[in-house]
């Protein structure tokens, strides 16, 4: 072997040795930024098939529960308890108005966001309403889903992150109508858009309703002249908007 060939050979080995740590460093950073497979949702969700009108119901989801306390609303008041009490009151009021509804949880249990979305994608769910509570909420806040452009699908097969795409317009329209009806009851309600989970994973029309802890109690009056509570006002507004959410998908 000539001297120059020996040098080339040695240089190649040295470069290889230098390259190994660099490649390993790149490999590590790739693992760090890659989403964890454990937290990734299922790849797809099937669109809801049509269901007979009489089987449709409103799914009320008292958000949080169990280990997930939600917001701490002061004086040992937890969001998970407020949302459950409010959901029960709304269910009773809906029943009085002949609107079928179910609670996604009826106790202090932990339910994952994925499990909530799966329950809401039952083909008989006509409207999904997530209930939240927050501090200093003037009136009620109605949140409609927001879909990232990245997750929107051009095709007919719905992906999990963009399942709401088929119902987004109706969700917005229903929220506007509910807010208008609440306004008639002297309860100010603003419609906002926010990327809240699990709204984006739900095929049916969906919205989130945020109340203040004071509104969670069934005895709270809207004003001195009215017998209406926030729960009854919301139930009445949902019942009035039935023409929109009871449509077949």
């Amino acid at each position: 072997m000539r001297w120059t060939e020996k040098l080339k050979f040695a240089t190649a080995i040295a470069l290889l040795c230098c390259a190994i740590p660099v490649l390993r460093a790149h490999e590590q950073s790739w693992y760090q930024v890659r989403p964890s497979p454990a937290t990734s949702p299922p790849a797809t969700v099937s669109p809801s098939p049509a269901a007979p009108q009489n089987e449709l119901f409103v799914l009320l989801d008292p958000s949080h529960g169990g280990d997930d306390k939600g917001a701490v609303l002061g004086n040992h008041v937890l969001e998970k308890d407020v949302t459950l009490a409010f959901a029960r009151a709304v269910r009773k009021q809906l029943l009085d108005r002949g609107v079928a509804s179910r609670l996604l949880r009826d106790g202090d249990i932990t339910i994952s966001l994925q499990r909530r979305a799966e329950a809401a994608n039952d083909p008989h769910v006509a409207l999904y309403v997530a209930l939240h509570a927050g501090r200093r909420i003037p009136g009620m806040r109605l949140y409609t889903p927001v879909l990232s452009l990245t997750t929107r699908d051009p095709g007919s097969f719905l992906s999990w992150p963009a399942a709401q795409q088929v119902s987004l317009k109706r969700s917005e329209s229903i929220a506007q109508q509910v807010a208008k009806e609440l306004g008639k009851e002297n309860l100010s309600a603003s419609v906002l858009a926010a990327p809240l989970r699990p709204l984006s994973n739900i095929v049916a029309p969906a919205m989130a309703v945020e109340i203040s802890p004071e509104q969670g109690g069934s005895g709270a009056l809207l004003n001195s002249d009215s017998e209406r509570t926030p729960a009854s006002a919301l139930a009445a507004a949902i019942a009035v908007s039935r023409n929109q959410w009871s449509l077949r998908q």
Binding site: G70, G134, A194, P195
Partner: protein
């Protein structure tokens, strides 16, 4: 006797190992220095940094509002580093006392990756999400103020995604989606609600 070409090869190999070791030690020292500087000051001064007038969008819990605040900071030219610095400048407003929007003092922006020209991956530490106050509005204020600040100071960013300790998380603290990308236009709309 060992052949001459093998002697040269072994010598070069030893040299390569030595150089690699020195480079790795230097890199580690650089990382440590960077972390310490970030702890001491919201914006770290780097060799390529130039003093600049920047605007950061700060959240105020008392009136549930977002307001622009002007500040002068040394800013790097590299877009990813620039994004990292402005995000740290916003977070510093929340982790210090008194704070208009208190977050855990241990909350940190660990690093920022620019993917292509327009996508930013923001990697936070666990304390940022684990200790974040739960609630639609507090979570929305944090996300909106961070992304709007990046958008104002790093041109061309179109979408942002948050990771926690390098991993995807479903929500920030039970409400705001962290699994999806945030489109800048969508965040502009969210910010308008807090004007």
């Amino acid at each position: 006797m060992i052949p001459r070409h093998l002697q040269i090869t072994i010598a070069l190999l030893l040299l390569a190992v030595l150089l690699t070791g020195i480079i790795l030690i230097k890199l580690e020292q650089h990382e440590k220095a960077k972390t310490q500087a970030a702890e001491l000051a919201p914006v770290a001064l780097t060799a390529e940094s130039k003093p600049e007038h920047i605007r950061i969008l700060v959240a105020y819990d008392d009136d549930q509002a977002l307001r622009w605040r002007d500040t002068d900071s040394p800013m790097p030219q590299d877009r990813a580093l620039r994004a990292e610095e402005v995000l740290r400048a916003v977070l510093a407003q929340y982790t210090q006392l008194p704070s208009p929007h208190p977050l855990s003092r241990a909350a940190e922006i660990k690093e920022v990756f620019l993917v292509g020209d327009n996508t930013l991956l923001v990697n936070t530490n666990a304390a940022f999400a684990d200790n974040h106050p739960s609630g639609i509005t507090p979570e929305e204020l944090t996300i909106t103020s961070l992304i709007e600040t990046v958008s104002a100071n790093v041109p061309g960013i179109e979408r942002v995604k948050f990771l926690v300790e390098g991993k995807e998380r479903e929500t920030l603290a039970g409400h705001m989606d962290l699994a999806s990308f945030y489109d800048i236009k969508m965040v502009h709309d969210m910010a308008r609600e807090f004007e």
